[in-house]
Amino acid sequence: MSRALLRDALWRQLGLAVAVMLAAMLLLALAAHGLLRGFEQQAWRGRQAEAAEAAAASVGRYVLRAEDAIRFAGVLDGVYLEAFPDALEAILDQDDLLLELLRVDASGEILATARRGAPVLAEQFTIAEASWFREAAAGRRYLSAVQQGATPVPSLLLALPALDGGVVVARLRSETLWDAVDAFRFGEGGRAYVVDREGRLLAHSDPDRVLASFSLEGRPELAALRSAPAGRWSGAYRNFEGLEVLAATAPVGAAPAAEADTALGAPAGGGEWYVFAELPRDEAFAWSRLAWRWLTGALALLGLLTLAATAWLLAQLIWPLRLAPLGLPLSPAVATAGATEADALGQTQALSRRDIEALRGAFDDMYNRVTDIDRLTSEFLATVSHELRTPLNSVIGYAELILGGLNGPLEAEMQQDVEAIYENGQLLLRLVNDLLDLAKIEAGRLELELVRIDPAGLLEATRAANTRQLEQKGLALALEPAPDLPLIWGDPLRLQQVLDNLVSNAIKFTEAGEVRLAARREGDWLVIAVSDTGIGISEADRETIFERFRQLDGSFTRRAEGTGLGLAISRHLVRMHGGRIEVESQPGAGSTFRVLLPIEETPSHSRGLAIGTLL
């Protein structure tokens, strides 16, 4: 093995280890962020629902307060009001919420009025056509949108049926409602507002919005509210002020309206008012956002430090491999001949026998040191890979639980995030598993558990394991086991791994046609052939595809998904079974990988291979 190859191998292994560590840490950060975000969202959703209900109860009290006065006025009939013309004034005086009270008979004729300030309802000459009269005369409670008129005080109309078939209508001070809603805050930026069924804004912390007759009509949150059962809904959206918020809604006064039935016959329904409790998304996800920033920042810093440390470590380990800095007992001719290996080799003709012996000793010593380094690297990889699998399995498991609805339904964006965590976690787990295998192989610690295997069952299991991938590509897998296949000695999991890898590659590189999996006996060998009609492999590539990290374009890139370790591991596993893998291919016409396994009465192969055989 040349020094250049050794150096490349070290670079690859350490570089890959660093990359895997960084990717794993990034994934962990992403998972932590996603989980924290999910928990935060769930927590806020519950709190907002409670806040919306509390705000709705507060608004409901406002309505009930007015209703109490109106119901009392509804009990007073025309005769009483004629006898006591100041009766409505007395009711009005009880509560400054009331701006005007009007009692009309069933035809809309005014029986009595009372007011603070200028008359408004008392001057209406279309009472019989007014919605408030029609609704209340029909036995329904009427609540208007916020009204602005000649008087400077904005108001709401509330009308209820009277006992004698007439109607009582009141003009209510809007500001009292606004104050109640404005006082309702949760979190730092959370607030509530009230809309009616048509989406008209009735109360908001910004009264100008209400006075501008703002409506939610046409907005998605109103459509969602309308389709929600009982007016209770929660979700996330960009609100009418352009703010990303989480929100919950609650209907106003639904329960109190039921009590109203016993008094004046007002039906349930609560006047069709709804409370929106909104919390800025930034505030809701403040902790997860902060955690994400710190984690990614720390990761970036850690990544840079790791890269620097790796570069320094490699410089310490590899660059001293140059001959001169080793301080070898070379002759002056050699010592001054040049610094590079090529220079040294170029001088061999001029070397004395003693120099050649010294060089051989030096190279042996160097080889032993590099072998130690490679072994240590492999052990390091095995340890790191093992340690990575545990948290990775947790990440994948939690992601799976969240996708399965453990924390309730997910928003679309959240669903995509968690799916990304899950899929990338799986990819990373495959990579880690391959690395672990690689490390075990190179450390000579991979052992086979040999049992008698029925090859036909192995083929069936391979097909079952690749069904999803086949369906996704629209390909068929033809199984062609010969009828008289003998049993063989082998590790079923490892042989399954080899066949899965070969079939998976065949599917991956085949766009149309089919994949065939055949098995037959050829003398003392069981031959399992995986054939495809894919892109094929050139003669030059056939020499390198069994090298680690290689794919068909001969690069280290991930043009097709995969680690580039599968074939190298497969060849090693087959060799451990005493067999070999052959490949036949025509570019553009497909490939056939033949796995030859010995047919023996007793197992004679269970040895690992020495370091370097996978290169």
Binding site: G149, G242, T296, L299, A315, F556
Partner: protein, 362 residues
């Protein structure tokens, strides 16, 4: 010195991803500008309702031109799918057009002037919440009588429609007001759809006879008809009274004891319109106190605008034909939308009346 190979791309990718995601969370929304509509506003209104000079003022103030088309058949034009941006319609036409989806909802957040619309015109049953209409003009139809042409003023519709000697009564080409007057005379609601009540109303006109009745010819004004010999009275509005006085006639306005006929006209945005934002700006302009005052002055008509008492001269406000007292308004029968069957019945009665009087069709 040998160079180390570049680090695996996964490292670069991971770091890029980490560094790229870090600052990615601080993006904000950007507001979208409102579209600007080109071309003049296509406006349709009854003749004389919206003076050109007043619309020119809008054009000068906003730069938006207005193409006014005057028609007595505004509803028919809307139903024909004409590209109209803004129309002035009587109450009776509203529900049918709303139900047929021919009117566009009004964005009240862009109509702050609506606060000047009095409660009497807000949120009425035919258009709850004024979702599709903005009340603009209103008034009472009563009796305009030529002093000297009648021996005694009739105090009621019933008295007016009693057979006997007397001057000629001019009827406007407004079926709801003519039929409504006869219904009130019979003690019915002005919006009655009962066939018997309608037949009785027709019979009242028939009993009066063609010698004492005349329907205005198309294009003929009430003042012109009233000025002819033998004409004693006209069922008309304050604008007719004003025109008659301007023509030098000695006339007086009477609201019969059964009540006048209360009419309201509304601005609406047809669904077929292509300039809703410009049209809404014109509506807002018409709700301005100074513009409404000018409209009231020039048209001798009441405007549904609470700012007018301060914007109009007291003598104009004192004209009870234009600005009836509250008790008169309450007593009057508001002309309301009819059911399809009621509309057909009223149309039939009107046709029969025209045939009886030899009128020149509707």
């Amino acid at each position: 010195m040998p160079q180390p190979p570049p680090p695996p791309r996964l490292v670069v990718f991971g770091l890029s991803l980490a560094l790229g995601l870090w600052p990615a969370a601080c993006q904000g929304p950007s507001p979208t500008p409102e579209p600007i509509e080109a071309g003049p506003i296509a406006l349709v209104a009854p003749p004389g309702a919206l003076p050109e000079a007043l619309l020119d003022g809008f054009t000068r103030a906003t730069g938006i031109s207005v193409a006014l088309r005057e028609s007595v058949e505004v509803e028919a034009l809307l139903r024909a799918g004409e590209p109209i941006d803004l129309a002035l319609l009587p109450t009776e036409a509203l529900p049918g057009l709303i139900e047929d989806g021919l009117l566009a909802p009004i964005d009240h957040s862009r109509l702050p002037g609506f606060r000047r619309v009095p409660y009497s015109f807000r949120d009425l049953a035919y258009d709850p919440g004024n979702r599709y209409s903005v009340p603009l003009r209103y008034g009472i139809s009563g009796l305009i009588l030529r002093l000297g042409a009648v021996e005694a003023f009739p105090r009621s519709w019933a008295e007016l429609l009693s057979p006997g000697p007397g001057g000629r009564l001019i009827l406007p080409r407004r079926p709801r007001e003519v039929i409504g007057a006869a219904l009130l005379a019979g003690g019915h609601d002005a919006n009655a759809e009962d066939p018997a009540a309608l037949a009785a109303a027709l019979e009242r006109w028939r009993a009066l006879g063609p010698r004492r009745l005349q329907v205005l010819s198309p294009g003929e004004s009430g003042a012109e008809a009233l000025a002819r010999p033998g004409a004693a009275g006209l069922i008309g509005r304050a604008a007719d009274l004003s025109a008659a006085r301007a023509a030098g006639l000695d006339v007086s306005f009477v609201v019969p004891v059964e009540g006048g006929l209360l009419w309201i006209e509304h601005l609406v945005l047809p669904e077929a319109g292509t300039r809703p934002a410009s049209a809404l700006r014109l509506v807002e302009h018409l709700l301005r106190p100074d513009v409404a005052a000018e409209l009231a002055r020039s048209g001798s008509v009441a405007l549904a605008n609470t700012a007018l008492p301060d914007a109009l001269a007291p003598d104009l406000l004192a004209d009870r034909a234009v600005w009836p007292e509250l008790r008169v308004l309450r007593r009057s029968g508001m002309l309301l939308p009819l059911s399809p069957a009621g509309r057909a019945l009223h149309a039939s009665i009107w046709e029969q009346l025209l045939a009886l009087l030899g009128g020149a069709g509707s």
